[in-house]
């Protein structure tokens, strides 16, 4: 994972497409060629079952920086000839989260060409420079700048042209298709010093089409993050976006001396998904709209977090507030993020701790005392929210959504432990609980674990077996070795 930055795959069932490139060539001449970028497998797309059919064309294949180039060549082309190339594509959606604190000066440029103007991406053109100034003069924040550029390019009216539109033309006409918009997006990014490039590919959907697609990518902390201002994908690449080449190139090139036509013939394979290969998984539940993904994730990972807590309690000997409470507090942290969530949690705990002493000294009964403590917590949270609205700080103002009920339970539990064990032990247990919360947070954030339990919900049986063993385990807890070490000395 790169600093302050992570990518996550969306858990949409992987879809697969049968794709065929059909090229029709007609000529009377000596030598003809057709070149096209062919897809390659990478971390998010998988190309299999490749094959081609061509009448006596010789096929060669070269790996270039920008992609894999296939070339069909024939001497003495007579009459109509067909070339077809087919393969199976399966891919996953990619979603990135951009560190809101990332500054432009911290960006790694990778290659000078990613911030320099090119033929159709005229980032040093006056019109582009003026617009860039207008959009982003006052900020050096990457996320903010990209959002402004994205918003601007997105609001330009779309057209359907398949003609090449360069960045300046797109700006002047105030109208463009994917290729114009993507070049304008990249030009504006480069004008601001954000390394970026265009990417060529095809949006896969069942049917025959001739249109390819162009979108943009920005290089942030080691990742090429995708943007499609035409179809409104922000830092997101849908699973049916097949990548073919990087940079401003033409998908197909051919010799001038022939008549040429082409079509992409695409068919979505309905039933290929992880779900189809494995008898029972839960992947399909969220897409069927029966249950929100977040909820499903929480339900599935709660047993795992409880397993961790059980191991910490019974094997290591760490004390926590209740058994499930740390796992549940973790869920509530998710809406505000770990760091801020922990600060908030500690704030709540301090309010509880501070109110506890005077209220106990005045001899208040238990329940009224607890109500006052809760009101203290509520006032604290409202204050933060107010501060957030005043200062336009989204993180602060969203505190109100931080599940207050769960915090209240935590507050009550903490107050009780102060009573039972004294403030010193209560703080110690507090610290251990916090450590467990951070660990559980890691579990909830793990795409691997979420994916694993969605695919193999039967793994819950493994947790049950571990618990059956643990339930009969009579060994000393780790902390007990220290506690009883007196006996040997």
């Amino acid at each position: 994972m790169t600093k302050g930055y992570f990518s996550s795959e969306q858990f949409i069932p992987e879809s697969s497409y049968d794709v065929k490139f059909d090229f029709h060539v007609k000529g009377e001449q000596e030598t003809a060629f057709v070149k096209a970028y062919l897809p390659q497998s990478n971390a998010r797309q998988n190309i299999t079952q490749e094959g081609f059919f061509s009448n006596q064309f010789t096929f060669s294949n070269s790996n270039l920086n920008e992609g894999r180039m296939g070339e069909w060549r024939k001497q003495n082309v007579k009459g109509e000839q067909n070339i077809s190339y087919h393969f199976n594509y399966s891919g996953e959606a990619l979603k990135y989260q951009i560190d809101p604190k990332l500054k432009i000066k911290d960006l790694h440029i990778l290659e000078e060409s990613f911030i320099s103007p090119s033929l159709h991406i005229q980032s040093e053109d006056d019109a582009i420079q003026i617009l860039s100034q207008k959009l982003n003069r006052h900020t050096d924040n990457v996320l903010f700048s990209i959002k402004n550029i994205y918003r601007y390019v997105n609001q330009i009216p779309s057209n359907e042209t398949s003609d090449l539109t360069d960045a300046v033309t797109a700006l002047q006409q105030n109208e463009a298709s994917c290729n114009g918009k993507s070049r304008l997006f990249v030009a504006l990014c480069r004008a601001k010093g954000i390394p970026s490039r265009v990417v060529g590919g095809i949006i896969l959907e069942t049917g025959k089409k001739k249109t390819s697609h162009l979108w943009a990518e920005v290089f942030l902390n080691g990742h090429w993050v995708p943007f499609d201002a035409l179809n409104q994908h922000f830092a997101y690449l849908p699973q049916n976006y097949m990548q073919l080449y990087y940079g401003d190139h033409f998908l197909i090139k051919r010799s001038k001396n022939i008549e040429f036509d082409y079509v992409f013939d695409i068919e979505k394979k309905e039933e290929f998904s992880r779900a189809a290969m494995i008898p029972f998984t839960l992947w399909s539940l969220p897409t069927k709209g029966e249950i929100p993904m977040e909820l499903l994730k929480v339900i599935l990972l709660l047993p795992l977090c409880s397993l961790i807590i059980a191991l910490f309690r019974n094997v290591i000997g760490i004390k926590t507030f209740g058994i499930f409470l740390p796992a549940i507090i973790t869920i509530s942290l998710e809406s505000v993020g770990l760091m801020f969530g922990i600060v908030l949690y500690l704030g709540v705990v301090s309010i509880v701790g501070l109110l506890h002493f005077p209220l106990t000294r005045w001899g208040l009964l238990y329940t009224p005392k607890l109500v006052i403590i809760l009101i203290g917590v509520v006032v604290g949270l409202l204050g933060l929210t107010h501060l957030g609205i005043e200062t336009n700080n989204i993180a602060l103002s969203s505190v109100i959504f931080f599940p207050i009920v769960i915090l209240s339970i935590a507050a009550e539990k903490f107050a009780k432990i102060i009573l039972e064990e004294g403030i010193k032990d209560a703080l110690k247990i507090q610290g251990q609980t916090l450590a467990i919360i951070i660990l559980c947070y890691g579990v909830y954030q793990s795409n691997f674990l979420t994916g694993f339990f969605l695919t193999f919900p039967e793994s819950l049986a493994i947790i049950v077996s571990i618990m059956l063993l643990l339930g009969r385990w009579i060994g000393l807890r780790v902390t007990e070795y220290k506690r009883f070490s007196w006996i040997i000395n």
């Binding site: 019974n314 000997g317 001899g363 009964l365 238990y366 329940t367 009780k416 009573l419 039972e420 339930g471 009969r472 385990w473 009579i474 060994g475 000393l476 807890r477 780790v478 007990e480 070795y481 506690r483 009883f484 070490s485 007196w486 006996i487 040997i488």
Partner: protein, 297 residues
């Protein structure tokens, strides 16, 4: 580090929480019987039925509405021990005494009726019993045996005897210290003193940080002191164990100046710190006892 010789040795001697729960508490105590020990009012019912010496019960308050009538009832006594029936670790216990003017005093200060009533209400609301409702137990105060003056003059020391299948297997004496505020519980700063079961002689004391031959505050000698009424004390613990439907339990016994050994409390899950105090493991003790073979693994 966990495979060191020392740790292997510990594993052979010590019974940890996991083993205590799996092989002792769950095997020898039925969940449904916990209530006889956990609730002091219930425990005293059994003790009274079996004529086992314990502090006389002056009154029990079950509802807020009963406070006044029970309070009137107990005015004839000079000293009251007020306890939550389900308290733990000595929480919520108040000892109040009448002074020469007939006013109730707590720890040298006058305590007003409204404060006492509020304490009753607090107990009933369940503050000392993890939230559930509770009862107030009012009983006779203990007058500690002069023997304890020879160790530490303040507070009420008590003996803890652990019994398995009605056999006393380990015991200790708990004595208050300067920092325990009159309380004898180990985790509140009390001093635990080991006992040689066969002779009834005190061994060394342990306060959580060190072992002592002398009481750390009074500097009076502990080691080798003979416990008065030791045989009666053991006998009483065995009677108690037989009277309760529990086979693994910790019995707390006080030594009263006038009455001798008396049962204070019965515990279903007696703590494991007694092993540290005695520098002896429960596991080795149980495994080496001829009548307790095959219980611990």
């Amino acid at each position: 580090m966990f495979f060191s010789k020392k740790n292997r040795k510990l594993e052979q001697k010590i019974c940890g929480i996991n083993q205590r729960n799996v092989e002792l508490v769950y095997v020898f105590n039925q969940r449904k019987d916990y209530k006889w020990a956990d609730d002091k009012v219930n425990a005293k019912t059994i003790l009274h039925q079996n004529n086992i010496a314990c502090a006389e019960t002056y009154g029990v308050i079950e509802r807020i509405g009963d406070i006044y009538s029970v309070w009137k009832e107990v005015q004839k006594y000079d000293c009251l021990a007020i306890k939550p029936a389900n308290g733990s670790g000595g929480g919520g216990i108040k000892i109040i005494r009448k002074n020469n003017d007939g006013k109730w005093m707590q720890g040298g200060k006058i305590i007003y009726e409204e404060n006492i009533f509020q304490h009753f209400a607090t107990i009933i609301m369940g503050i000392y019993s993890l939230g559930g409702r509770d009862r107030v137990l009012i009983e006779r105060c203990i007058d500690p045996h002069p023997f304890f003056q020879e160790i530490y003059p303040i507070g009420v020391p008590d003996f803890r005897v652990i019994l398995l299948k009605d056999i006393p297997i380990m015991s200790m004496l708990r004595v208050p210290t300067d920092r325990s505020d009159g309380k004898a519980n180990l985790h509140q700063g009390g001093l635990g003193i080991g006992i040689d079961m066969s002779t009834g002689l005190l061994t060394t004391g342990f306060d959580g940080n060190n072992y002592y031959d002398f009481h750390p505050d009074s500097h009076l000698l502990i080691k080798g002191k003979e416990i008065p009424f030791w045989d009666e004390l053991l006998e009483l613990s065995i009677h108690t164990s037989r009277a309760f439907p529990l086979q693994y339990l910790g019995v707390d016994i006080v030594l009263d100046k006038h009455i001798g050994p008396m049962i204070m409390e019965v515990n279903v899950r007696p703590g494991l710190g007694i092993q540290i105090v005695n520098q002896q493991g429960l596991k080795e003790t149980i495994q080496s006892h001829p009548l307790l073979q095959g219980i611990l693994h």
